[in-house]
Amino acid sequence: MTAITSTQGTVAGEGRTFLFKRYYRPIVSTLAVLGFLLLWEVAVTLGWVNGRFTSQPTQIYRAALVIFAEDDFGWHCGVSFVSFALGFAMALAVSIPLGLYLGVSRWGRLFLEPPLMALYTAPRIVLLPILIVWLGIGLASKVAIVFLGAVFPIMVNTMAGVRGADHRLATAARAFGATPMDIFLKVLVPGSLPAILMGVRLGVGRGVLSVVIGEMFVSEAGIGHQIMTYGQALQFSKLLVYAFTISLFGYGLTVAVRMLEDRIRNWRPSS
């Protein structure tokens, strides 16, 4: 009758090249990272750059062993993680319903869009001094700053997802007697799920950034606090151990969200 396009276009490879074609992305990425680390190591050893200020992969490795042994590493990570998780959970709980609401309500947009957009574009860090006065130095301020960092990208993307939904789908649903709630739950929400997840992914980045910045200023513990402390002491190897830890966490979470996005996107034409 007609041709069917396959979603999973299998890479047609032969023999030896097959493995490379299939896995070339992770292979190339890994090689790039290893190459960079090697260059870094060599540059310091050969005196091209001053290792005192740039550190060195092997030095960082030794610093990591020290930190794991004597620095309460797990505890600091835990402190950061709790701030992040609480703030991010609150951001999800607020941004998705609010974004969905703003997506369907013209009046809601008229009232709320200008102030929300102003907050979205402004650097939220300027609110930190105020948050400290309101909430004190500690968990509450950090949770608040993570919340403020993550809430806007998720909300804005959710709203855009709902507004960008294909109105023809809603009309079709209406022709079959869909109630406004049916249209919302069965057309608008699933239709904007990819946009929502994209917002969540951006929100992860903002949230991780926020927790570190928050801890630099308003915390007695946590990864950000340790980074600040070692920075002031010029112990860059130890600083970088924490910096890598938080990067890895943010990266891992981003990849996880991206995998979720790919999963729910399988109905989309592959582009």
Partner: protein
């Protein structure tokens, strides 16, 4: 309660009397008349096609029958009851892009049953039965983007039929398909329709399609949209492709072309004046 009364009273005969539909043009107070004073009777079990050049209000008329847009004046009744909003007695087949892209073929057919609150226990099976009826049994788990245009329209038809409507409304369902697929789909549509002969209203701008499918062809003209003529198509059923070249068919085609050419000529004159 009203629902059951309505179900009992519906018989599939549709009456349109003095129907007018107006739009307010966005960003101005100008009122645009899309359909003006249309009266039409669609008998139960008949296949009526509506043909006309684009902009003649044929799709608007169909949307009004579906209850999706408000009327400026006039009445539409189905089985003696006035049509004011979408109802279970009608189902609509859209041109394209009206399938939920995140649902499978089966899920899309099931969607209509969900919206009409069919009993949970048998909707899966019922949806699958209609997917098979349109010949897509092997594709039940495919997503719309994996299907060809013709297959997507089969899903659209299955979705409309599975809710067991009294009237099937089709808005240029094959408009986006290539000529060959169109012919196949017309044959297929008639094959399915002949089974239980539901009242069918089919909007198209393709003259051959209108004659081939219809018991009656409603010809619409533009500015504002109105019914120019209703032509009885006296060809036996089942219709076959051989009829496309019969003398009767050629004569129907000639008459319809004249109408549409006159309509377009009038439009060009208006444009020349402006």
């Amino acid at each position: 309660m009203t629902q059951t009364l309505q179900d009992m009273a519906t018989s599939g005969r549709m009456e349109i009397r003095d129907l007018s539909i107006t739009y307010r043009k966005p960003k101005s107070d100008e009122v645009f008349t899309a359909v003006d004073g249309v009266s039409l009777t669609i008998e139960k079990g008949s296949f009526v096609t509506i043909v006309g050049s684009s902009g003649c209000g044929k799709s608007t008329l169909l949307l009004a029958m579906a209850g999706l847009i408000p009327k400026a004046s006039g009445v539409i009744t189905l089985g003696g009851l006035e049509v004011t909003k979408p109802g279970r007695d009608r189902a609509m087949v859209f041109q394209d892009a009206s399938l939920l892209p995140w649902r499978t073929v089966h899920g899309n057919v099931r969607f209509a049953l969900e919206l009409q609150r069919w009993k949970r226990d048998d909707i899966d099976e019922r949806a699958l039965r209609y997917v098979r009826m349109v010949g897509l049994g092997a594709f039940a788990d495919y997503h719309p983007h994996q299907l060809s245009g013709g297959m997507r329209q089969r899903v659209n038809i299955a979705r409309a039929l599975c809710v067991d409507p009294d009237v099937l409304l089709m808005d240029e369902p094959f408009g986006a398909l290539d000529a060959q697929t169109r012919e196949v789909m017309c044959d297929e549509l008639l094959r399915i329709w002949e089974r239980d002969k539901k009242t069918a209203v089919f909007v198209t701008h393709a003259i051959d399609e209108a004659i081939f499918l219809g018991d009656r062809v409603v010809v619409m003209g533009r500015n504002p949209g109105h019914v120019r003529d209703v032509i009885e198509i006296d060809l036996p059923r089942p219709r076959t492709n051989a009829m496309l070249d019969s003398a009767a068919f050629v004569e129907y085609r000639r008459r319809l072309r004249e109408y549409i050419a006159a309509d377009l000529a009038a439009l060009q004159m208006v444009e020349a004046l402006v």
